[in-house]
Amino acid sequence: MADSIVLKPQFDDAEQERVASDLGIWVFLATEILFFGALFAAYTITRIRYPEAFAVASRLTNITLGSINTGVLLTSSLTMALGVRSAKLGARTALIGWMCVTVVLGIAFLAIKSTEYYLDYTGHLVPALDFAHAGVHSGPIEIFFYMYFFMTGVHSIHMLVAICLVCVLIAMAWRRSFSPEYFTPVELGGLYWHLVDIVWIFLYPLLYLVSRS
């Protein structure tokens, strides 16, 4: 039963364990910001050097699918947050329900992204594969798409990990591992999910909205 939580021996009490886990996950999230940050830095610097090329390239991205995906991901953050809330209240069915919806939205995101990748491929926008863009900017445009695939690719890997984590949480919730006194894994999983959302919040304007007017 969820009441008999085994306190790990290095901790004095459950509160210490909770604050330690919270701080731990936030330190980890800070590392993720810098992990993605290196790519954002490379993107920013290259864009400053080739503003027109990046404008042309950005117009070749699929704004419809990109925007829908942004909406999907923001909504999944809502459902995940509501899931964490349910965990705090001990509402097991609601917790499982919200997390299932979150997973579905996450899978939808990846499905839409895959479709988008396929469309990019048929549009000859994949560097090193059969990239074909004539014109004076073709070099930096190829770099744009290199960064586009790299950044969204790394993001998608994180998305996959997040989906797997939430599935594990669903299984744990099913086995009654959580209670209002102990729901730390749900909280940590939620924070990771939101981080993946925040990365996309910044990717979206930088990749899709550079020059739409």
Binding site: A30, I33, R49, T75, L89, E181, I201, P205, S213
Partner: protein, 92 residues
Amino acid sequence: MIRHPVAATRTYVLVWVVLMILLTLTLGSAYIPLGSLNTVINLGIAVAKALLVMLFFMHLRSGHPVLRIFASAGFFWLALLIGLSLTDFLTR
């Protein structure tokens, strides 16, 4: 028993509504020719969205100050990386 502040469902849904409005704004304003202001607006909206997610969905608003420090540190250090690198790239 440990009591953690539990926000109402309404709060979360309200935040989501604002996020969707911001998404519409950023997408819509991209089609209005405003020159470099477009980028400023888009990034500003992105920052606003991120703040909403961090403060409300990630509970930073009610969390321990140390958490807010580490959350900011990540972005601040990224700003250092980009900013100081630009002292090179902008002055060549």
